[in-house]
């Protein structure tokens, strides 16, 4: 089976909140919500207030745990994480995704 994976890092002005392999990223773009899958064309977009959905892939990922204030690692594939943001930017290039966001809250569904 083909392994679809992209590398995502989510940065806020305070810290890095997520870094790891994912299969899908959905973001609230300035011109509407869109999803980034494997081999997406290079794009830079501004983000509106809304929710980011990411689905983790096989492999380790790091995330910032707001409850304890520590950076934790996990390897659970296929997990959906949601963050609500008040704005930011996304850059996609060669399956490397950088998300710069502010006003972020982790959202538990």
């Amino acid at each position: 089976m083909l392994e679809f994976r992209m590398n995502v890092s989510i940065l806020t002005p305070e810290r890095e909140v997520f870094q790891g392999a994912v299969t899908s990223v959905k973001v609230p773009g300035a011109k509407g919500e869109f999803q980034v899958l494997n081999n997406h064309a290079p794009i830079v977009s501004a983000l509106e207030a809304g929710v980011i959905h990411i689905v983790t892939a096989q492999g380790e990922y790091r995330f910032f745990d707001e409850a304890t204030g520590e950076i934790k690692t996990s390897t659970e594939p296929g997990k959906t994480l949601q963050f609500s943001i008040s704005g930011g930017f996304i850059e996609v290039l060669n399956n490397e995704i950088a998300l710069l966001v502010h006003g972020m809250r982790e959202k538990i569904d």
Binding site: L11, T12, E14, K31, E91, H102
Partner: protein, 299 residues
Amino acid sequence: MSGSLKQVRERIRSVQNTQQITKAMKVVSAAKFRKAQQAIVQMRPYADKLNRMLRNILSNMEGEADTVFGTERPVQKACMVVVTSNRGLCGAFNANVIKGAVRVIQEDLAEVRRNGQLSILCIGKRGYDFFRKRYADCRLIADYIDLFQHLDFDHVEPVAQQLMDDFQQKNYDKVYVAFGHFRNAATQFPMVEQWLPVAKIQASGQGGSAKRADYIFEPDMKGLLDYLIPSILKTTFLRYLLDTHASEHGARMTAMDKATENAEELLRELRINYNKARQEAITKEILEIVGGAAALESS
């Protein structure tokens, strides 16, 4: 003699108490400093990436980017943002920042001040106390004086936004920020930077290094800049605060370390004096006894 002995003993005790306090303050500052430094380090990737995005867009635009925040206007109204700490006991740190601000006011903004169009926005109590007393003719803004208690993007952003709005509405033609620039724990120096209007950002300079990927820009490049530039400005503003915060604790650490050292030196001198006085008292007492005994014998 025993009087002076007691006095010296009391001095020693008081110096010891002071030393204990300075030592404790140093330790506290060291802990806070580490946190403040970490905040700067953790912000860096975000700021770098933001700048890289901007470069990227500019190199694709082939030319200069004009934004509302880059328009130079004749300076009639100006704002000086003075970022100082809330507390003293950190050496000349606050005094230096204030001095830097005052110099710019005297050199570049004297005319604006004479016309009564100078606003001073104080973040941190120290600067506010200074300017309240000496710059009564300027408009002092103290709404954000306690910003250091919530030093994160969510709290800093509204302040930056307010200033940017004021700039756009021509309430200010120029905004300066005076803050403590952070180099490392031992060196901080005051700096005054022009925050608005932003200097022209040139795309060139590294043209070759940026690989031209065919990016999709959403919204278009110009629209994207309207998002990016405010973000960069706000991030810069946050950096001013984080820098000052780290500098403050660095300066306090150094100041308290010096104070502890000085107390140690003072103590050493006092102890010598104390021992001298004690010796003298003992010698005197022995002399008295010996003298008394001799007087008894001879009688």
